[in-house]
């Protein structure tokens, strides 16, 4: 342990804004500035693009401390370590690991330190690619390694190596899980990529499980998530821009898109919104979503949050933009209502079957929204709508119930929501059991106690079951909430109330936009759309990309995507002739 204590900055250099030294956004060949294209070095470090450290991970610091961190590194190793340790509140903060070593240098033995955060950095990588080469470095190598740059070129065997000449850069790198090597007498730090936090294995997303199709889901690792998408889209046109968001957490986010297909204006807009976030909140995908969405007060989802790489890849191929972070949720923009009602499995089964499922899903949407409210409206106001026999059955079942229909429905729906919420919170083993038993027991008990009518249990069950058929979780929650408003409207005015609220909701849908794209597009406004907007059409006729994301390239596949015409038989053992592309 170094005897750091009262040694402070005796010779403070004039503070200098931390520059983004390795290529700024907007420069040729550097799409986002996050990746160092010029040097061919991939970095996962903090890009201090803004020229100040206000957007660094040092949120919450005083101005003086920020100025200190904006300073260049000192030639004195002791001074450098003192500042870094002060920044990390070490040794009180035990996360920072300072590994002291001595290396052969051109003028003899030199003291050096490796700084990293245990847990964030991969110890094996540090041992094999940083410590071992340094400790085994002979005098000749030391002699030729005249500065840290040569050291990085000739000695360190880490895959990605970068440099930092200010405290803010090296501190940001350490926080990001990289290892910083500081050598006594040198005012340039070497940053070796060693970030490799522990994460769980790739498993299927429970919320988007499919019977057919791939079962891989995203995990809590940024690089792993990007790789999963890249494996599905093996094209050099797939671009990943890295951005760091948040004044305090400085979380890493990636914008992914296919160059040449995506509309550059969409990418600019996504980038602008993400880089403009100045929040001090712990930055995760869901929080970012709240901060960059078009309609912050509306619970309607304007970003598709999915845990499936295949879904992200297919949308990227249509010209959408994906936002990836170190969480198992990836957001895709823009998104329309029609996309929210699609499931990844639709594309793994026959299109006729997929269309059938889609119709069921839309019916489920209407049932979730209207089943209970129509029951209330009819029973309360419009008896004449129901056939006489059914009317008698309902009247008989409600005879002993002392409550108005609206109260009955609200209580039952609330009980259903309670069971659902409890089922999510309690341990997995007894969760489903409680859900089923709770529903049966409460329903049966309520009917026996004549608190609710038997027919109402059926209505609420249909409404509740239907809400599970909505493929998008957020849309499902929204529908469940809106259902209560519908019930109240029906209780107040009957069908007129339901109609008025429906018109209002439709108007809201017409207003909503997802990154500038109307959520009812490409139907309203009427843009070109593929045959899978509402129902699922044959894949081979979807020649053009839908205009939802306004892609630059329209053609998705040639006119004759199928080698054989539908219905045309192929003689055994003979490969069908290749057709001319039009």
């Amino acid at each position: 342990m170094f005897p750091f204590g009262a040694i402070k900055r005796a010779f403070r250099r004039p503070s200098r804004p931390a520059d983004f030294t390795l290529g700024k956004r907007g420069e040729p060949g550097i799409p986002g500035g996050g990746e160092d294209v010029v040097r061919g070095v991939h970095r996962e470090r903090r890009p201090f693009r803004s020229g100040t450290i206000s957007r660094s991970p040092f949120g919450g610091m005083s101005e003086t401390e920020r100025e200190d961190l904006g300073r260049r590194l000192d030639k004195s190793l002791r001074e450098n370590i003192s500042t870094i340790m002060d920044t990390f509140h070490a040794p009180r903060n035990s996360d920072l690991t300072v590994r002291e070593i001595e290396i052969n240098w051109r003028d003899g033995r030199r003291r050096a330190v490796c700084l990293f955060i245990d847990g964030l950095s991969d110890l094996e990588t540090i041992r094999r690619h940083v410590l071992a080469p340094l400790l085994s470095m002979d005098h000749d190598a030391g002699r030729s390694s005249v500065d840290p740059r040569c050291l990085a070129k000739k000695v360190l065997s880490g895959t990605f190596v970068d440099f930092g000449d200010t405290f803010s850069e090296v501190v940001a790198a350490i926080v990001g899980g990289e290892t910083v090597l500081l050598v006594d007498g040198e005012d340039l730090g070497v940053i070796v990529q060693t970030r490799n936090p522990e994460h769980r294995a790739i498993v299927e997303s429970p919320a988007e499980a499919v019977v057919r199709g791939p079962h891989a889901g995203f995990v809590e690792n940024f690089r792993e998530n990007v790789t999963m998408i890249r494996l599905l889209l093996e094209t050099p046109q797939l671009v990943t821009e890295q951005l760091h968001v948040g004044a305090r957490s400085h979380a890493l986010f990636g914008i992914m898109y296919i160059e040449g297909i995506v509309n550059p204006k969409l990418v600019d807009e996504v980038r602008r919104r993400i880089t403009s976030v100045e929040s001090g909140l712990l930055m995760t995908m869901t929080i970012l979503e709240r901060l960059i969405e078009d309609e912050p007060y509306s619970p309607y989802p304007v970003m598709l949050v999915t845990e499936r790489p295949d879904r992200v890849a297919s949308m990227l191929a249509e010209g959408h933009v994906a936002i990836v972070d170190s969480s198992p949720s990836v957001a895709v923009v823009p998104v329309t209502l029609w996309t929210l009602m699609q499931s990844p499995e639709d594309y793994y089964i026959h299109f006729v079957a997929a269309s059938f499922v889609r119709v069921i899903r839309w019916a489920a949407l209407l049932s979730t929204l209207y089943a209970s409210s129509l029951y209330v409206a009819i029973v309360t106001f419009h008896h004449e709508m129901i056939p006489t026999e059914l009317l008698f059955t309902i009247a008989a079942s409600r005879e002993a119930v002392p409550f108005p229909a609206a109260l009955e429905v609200v209580v039952m729906e609330a009980a259903f929501e309670l069971i659902r919420e409890a089922g999510v919170r309690i341990p997995t083993i007894i969760g489903p059991t409680l859900g089923i038993v709770g529903a049966v027991i409460i329903g049966q008990a309520a009917v026996t106690a004549t608190v609710v009518s038997p027919i109402l249990v059926v209505v609420v069950a249909i409404s509740g079951l239907a809400s599970f058929a909505i493929p998008n979780y957020e849309l499902g929650v929204l529908l469940r909430m809106t259902r209560f408003a519908m019930i109240l409207a029906a209780a107040a005015l009957g069908l007129p109330g339901v109609t008025m609220l429906s018109v209002f909701l439709l108007a809201r849908l017409c207003i909503m936009r997802s990154f500038g794209v109307p959520v009812l597009a490409p139907v309203l406004p009427s843009w070109r759309h593929s045959a899978d907007t509402f129902l699922e059409g044959p894949l081979w006729i979807m020649r053009k990309r839908p205009q939802t994301a306004r892609p630059l390239e329209d053609d998705r596949q040639p006119q004759r995507a199928r080698p054989v015409k539908p219905g045309e038989s192929v003689r055994r053992g003979r490969v069908p002739e290749r057709r001319e592309r039009r």
Binding site: M385, P387, L493, L495, P496, T499, M500, C510, S526
Partner: protein
């Protein structure tokens, strides 16, 4: 400043021809669910169903000049074009009259729908309460601008026409084609006069003169929007008149206040598809709200353009309130019908047909003022 010079169109986004046509269709066909079929039969007796067809053909006489005017002045509405062609006084005159016409139509229709709802479905609910709820929703929609209005009307127009077709088909058990004879009804002369006077049932299509300014490609899309506006409206109105004419004999029909609602009560397909009149309420309210919303929007834009205001949105609420108050001043359903069909629409024909024709003729003989001129 001369109205229209310099482009006073409000930055309200753009629509395509489908949305423009949908706005006009939703605005026009609302009347089909009210007393409209009965009025057609009054005028044309057994040939009442032909009135929407031939009146649509007559309407082409003023719709075509309107299309030509919009195409030759892209991005300008009819009031602005009037200002450029005939001067500020003419623009104010026509703009004011058209604004009052829209207000009148809105007031009478909202009153008719509220009264019908009150009588048929919610007898214990005060008419004012129904009108206020409708007013709030229509205000909200109108305030969102032409893009939202266009999208909502597209959904609504398709849904309404689908309901019309369904109701017509489901009532097929009651059809009797013999009720169309004699074919010429009251005689060729009276029928011909009805074709000309009743072209006012398409008076709402004049709204294209306002929404046409928002078309994305006015030169390519105005004609298409006009054709579809008139065609779809004519189809819906004819279908209604035809169905009602086949179900009710003429003497009975003139005593039915809301014929299409009565038809829905006759529907009996199997044991469980019967008495759909309560469901009719949904359609009624839908068309009522959309019609009033479009009316508020057109009224606000017309008056704002007339008086060279920079924005139209502050006018929406006052127009809605005035329309609501005017609707409350109408004592009953019968008076609302008389005001609507016998006064507003009959005399409104002069405005509807006269305005585009006169401005078009004038535009052929005068050179338009230059942008920014006439200040």
């Amino acid at each position: 400043m001369t109205i229209g010079a310099g482009g006073t169109r409000f930055p309200d986004g753009h629509i395509d021809w489908i949305e423009a046509a949908a706005i006009i269709v939703a605005y026009t066909i609302a009347k089909a669910f009210l007393v409209f079929p009965e009025r057609m039969v009054r005028d044309g007796i057994t040939a009442g169903w032909t009135i929407p067809i031939f009146s649509a053909l007559v309407s082409i006489l003023w719709l075509y000049p309107l299309v030509l005017l919009l195409e030759s002045h892209p991005g300008k509405n009819l009031v602005e074009i009037t200002g450029l062609v005939a001067g500020r006084t003419a623009a104010i005159l026509f703009g004011m009259i058209y604004g009052i016409y829209i207000l009148g139509i809105g007031a009478t229709v909202s009153r008719e729908i509220a009264s019908a709802l009150n009588v048929v479905v919610l007898p214990l609910t005060p008419t004012t309460a129904l009108m206020i709820i409708g007013l709030i929703v229509s205000l909200y929609i109108a305030y969102q601008g032409v893009e939202v209005l266009g999208r909502l009307c597209a959904i609504h127009a398709v849904g309404t026409i689908a309901v019309m077709v369904l109701l017509s088909l489901m009532s097929s058990r009651s059809w009797d084609a013999r009720q169309f004879f004699p074919l010429l009804g009251p005689g060729a002369g009276r029928l011909g006069a009805a074709y000309i006077v009743r072209q006012s049932i398409y008076g709402e299509v004049l709204g294209l003169g306002i929404v046409g300014a928002y078309l994305r490609n006015p030169r390519e899309e105005t004609g298409k929007a006009a054709r579809w506006s008139l065609g779809a409206s004519a189809f819906a109105l004819t279908l209604t008149a035809l169905t009602v004419g086949m179900v009710f004999p003429y003497p009975a029909l003139v005593r039915v206040a809301v014929p299409f609602l009565r038809i829905s009560r006759y529907i009996f397909i199997g044991r469980f598809l019967q008495r759909l009149d309560a469901l009719f309420v949904v359609v009624w309210l839908g068309v009522g709200v959309m019609k009033t919303a479009v009316g508020h929007y057109l009224g606000a834009v017309t008056l704002a353009t007339t008086f060279n205001l920079k924005t139209y949105k502050p006018l929406i609420a006052p127009i809605a309130v005035v329309s609501f108050a005017a609707g409350r001043l109408i004592p009953d359903y019968s008076t609302a019908i008389i005001l609507d069909f016998d006064i507003l629409r009959t005399y409104g024909t002069i405005l509807v047909a006269g305005w585009p024709i006169s401005i078009y003729i004038l535009s052929r003989f005068t050179r338009p003022e230059k942008e920014g001129g006439g200040q």
